[in-house]
Amino acid sequence: MPGIRTVGRPMNIKEKWYLFEIAKGMMVSIRHLVSNIFHQDRMPTLQYPEEKRVLPERFRGRHRLTKREDGTPKCVACYCCQTACPADCISIEAGERPDAGEKVAVRFDINILRCVFCGLCVEACPVDAIRMDTGKYELSSDSRKKLIYDIDTLLND
Amino acid sequence: MQTIAFWVFSFLAVAGAVLTVTRKNPLSSALSLVVSLVAVAGLFATLSAHFLFAIQLLVYAGAVMVLVIYVIMILNLRERDMRVLGLSRPRAALASVASLAVLLVLARVFAGGRTAFPADAKGLGSIEELATALFTRYLLQFEVVSVLLLAAMVGAVVLAMRKF
């Protein structure tokens, strides 16, 4: 190919025979095989649904909406997260809170099918209302509808 | 048992041979020839000529026909590539019947009236018997054929070396 220079490494006589090198390689693989038969517990594989990995502290999992002390959502419907989201998966509808005259989210949907788990929404939030620290990552479901999380689901995560 | 095997193999051999010349697709022709050759090998086996049986399978049905098929596939021969021989149907039929008759007459003459192998022949078709026949009585013919094959090989090399 033009522009690509291949640099050959000359093989010595023993390597040209292949057989010794093949034997060496075979010994490597049999060593793995035998040691894995006798020490199955040392194998790095996890038996997944039964065993689970210990997640790192900053693992970004499924979102949750935080609450104030009185149990109402912290979210003030400022649309920062919706604006920051590169995947366009958050859709908020703002309303007014009857008691305090404050803005509040009436609808807060996260389409988890579109989410790329980048965490920009968490960074954008001025009131620490959205977090991704649930550690939940098993998000499969049997319908697409169920994977659009509404405000109640997110508050109770 | 022997008779049934003979008829089955004979039928297959003849059918394969007929299909070889009547099929239009070259690959089908070649494979029909394979069937015919395998059936002939089966005939050898019923005559307890095990060595010939194995050699027939190994050399003709195996190696030679694989090469033929290889060539057909490499050149990607299709029906349209087959050259039609300039013979009308009645003439072609006449020619084939005539050649069959000639073959039968020749077989009759050279077999000296024998229609079957002696059943009690010791070691018939065995390797020892075959080797003794090839390397003593028919040594000259054997060597001539070898030289012919060598010549064919040299010719093939020369043809392949020629620049087109």
Partner: protein, 423 residues
């Protein structure tokens, strides 16, 4: 009379089904060994009533899956050849088993029963002939699918197999020169006895170079890695990409059966076939009672050992799963204890063996040794596959024509000289 008719049928059935029995075992071995070599655990999920046998249930699940898949035929294929290919692949790969002697011949009522389906006195040539037929299955599949890639895959394999057939034939001639016969039964029988007083007189010790060449050629003939260019599933597309469902499974099984048959042939030619090392048929028959006792004791010991292993395995399962799957170890442990107890009971009640029983017992032991040798070679195939990378096409051809063929000729010359020297 009835016996005469039934016996060939029986042996034909054995020759047909024995290789099929090996297939799930080898598929399991392949997946499990591959996993262990790559530090994975491999298949272990499929279960029948909680019994998983370390993934041995998976091949059966695979069969169910393959049968249930859509049998898709591409348009504009040559239907006849497209269908013929897989069937030929399976059928032809099973044929060599018909002539492999499974044990020493029995003599019952003044009659000698050869323990193989077909008694052919040109066994080796038949094996070579069959390997050359294998090309048809692959080439027809590649051509019939009417796809340029499959066609090229088929051509590649045809060239490879034809080339290595030559090397295979040449490497075999050394064995033929030593044994002076083409009959596999006679070749195995000659490999009784001892070499230099301590080695079994197997051809591998007399023909080390020939064995190596034959082994390499066998890898190429069975299209196994490092010679699996006909398939080349990962980068160069092979001959069976247009096949799905059971048709693909036929090619797949054909490959494994070819592997088993090749292992059987190489065990027969170079590793003494059914010969039990250091113990000839006569010795075994004379000491049949002792042999039976040793066998039963071995079974009992292995049963107890297995039970102990299953116990510790069960402890791990209980920690891990806490459901019905953890019962598996208990069931298997109980089964192995049961087998051990049966063996001990049999040992207690065994007082003598009649001559016919002795013959059958010895035949069974010899058959087991053949199976063990076949499995050992099957493992070698797997081991090599998960160690070596695939050859490039020019390397395949170079190795075949420039190394194996001259070395095969050298092997013939050296063998001839040594034989002359001995004379």
């Amino acid at each position: 009379m009835l016996f005469d008719l039934l016996l060939p049928v029986l042996f034909a059935l054995v020759a047909a089904f024995l290789p099929l029995m090996f297939v799930p075992l080898l598929v399991w071995g392949e997946r499990k060994a591959a996993a262990f070599i790559q530090d994975r655990t491999g298949p272990n999920r499929a279960e029948v009533l909680g019994i998983r046998l370390g993934g041995l249930v998976h091949p059966f699940a695979d069969v169910v899956k393959l049968l249930g898949k859509e049998d898709w035929t591409p348009e504009r294929v040559n239907r006849f050849y497209y269908n013929l290919g897989p069937f030929l692949a399976l059928f032809i790969s099973m044929l060599p088993f018909a002539i492999v002697p499974l044990a020493d011949s029995l003599s019952v009522g003044g009659r000698i029963i050869e323990m193989r389906a077909v008694t052919l006195n040109v066994g080796i040539l038949f094996v070579l002939a069959i390997t050359s037929f294998h090309v048809y299955a692959i080439v027809l599949g590649g051509w019939g699918a009417n796809n340029t890639y499959t066609l090229i895959g088929g051509m590649r394999s045809a060239a490879q197999m034809v080339s290595y057939e030559l090397a295979m034939g040449l490497s075999l001639i050394g064995v033929l020169m030593i044994s002076q016969t083409l009959d596999l039964g006679a070749i195995v029988r000659q490999q009784g006895g001892l070499l230099f007083g301590f080695l079994p007189r197997w051809n591998v010790f007399l023909q080390p170079l020939g064995f190596l060449l034959f082994l390499i050629a066998l890898f190429a003939e069975t299209n196994r890695n490092p010679f699996d260019l006909p398939e080349g599933e990962s980068e160069i597309i092979g001959f069976h990409v247009e096949y799905s469902s059971m048709r693909f499974a036929f090619y797949f099984m054909g490959e494994y059966i070819a592997m088993v048959a090749g292992s059987a042939v190489i065990a027969t030619l170079y590793f003494g076939g059914w010969q039990v090392p250091w113990l000839g048929t006569e010795t075994l028959r004379a000491n049949a009672l002792l042999a039976a006792r040793v066998l039963l004791v071995l079974i009992a010991v292995f049963g107890v050992l297995a039970a102990v292993l299953f116990r510790s395995y069960g402890r791990r399962l209980r920690i891990l799963y806490r459901d019905r799957r953890s019962r598996e170890a208990k069931v298997l442990g109980a089964a192995s204890i049961f087998v051990a107890v049966l063996a001990l009971l049999a040992l207690a009640f065994l007082s003598g063996i009649r001559p016919l029983g002795a013959q059958i017992l010895v035949a069974a032991v010899q058959f087991l040794f053949l199976v063990a040798k076949i499995l050992a070679f099957g493992f070698l195939f797997i081991w090599v596959r998960w160690t070596l990378p695939r050859f490039r096409y020019d390397q395949v051809m170079g190795l075949g024509w420039k190394s194996l063929v001259p070395l095969g000729l050298l092997n013939i010359a050296v063998t001839g000289l040594v034989l002359l020297g001995i004379d």
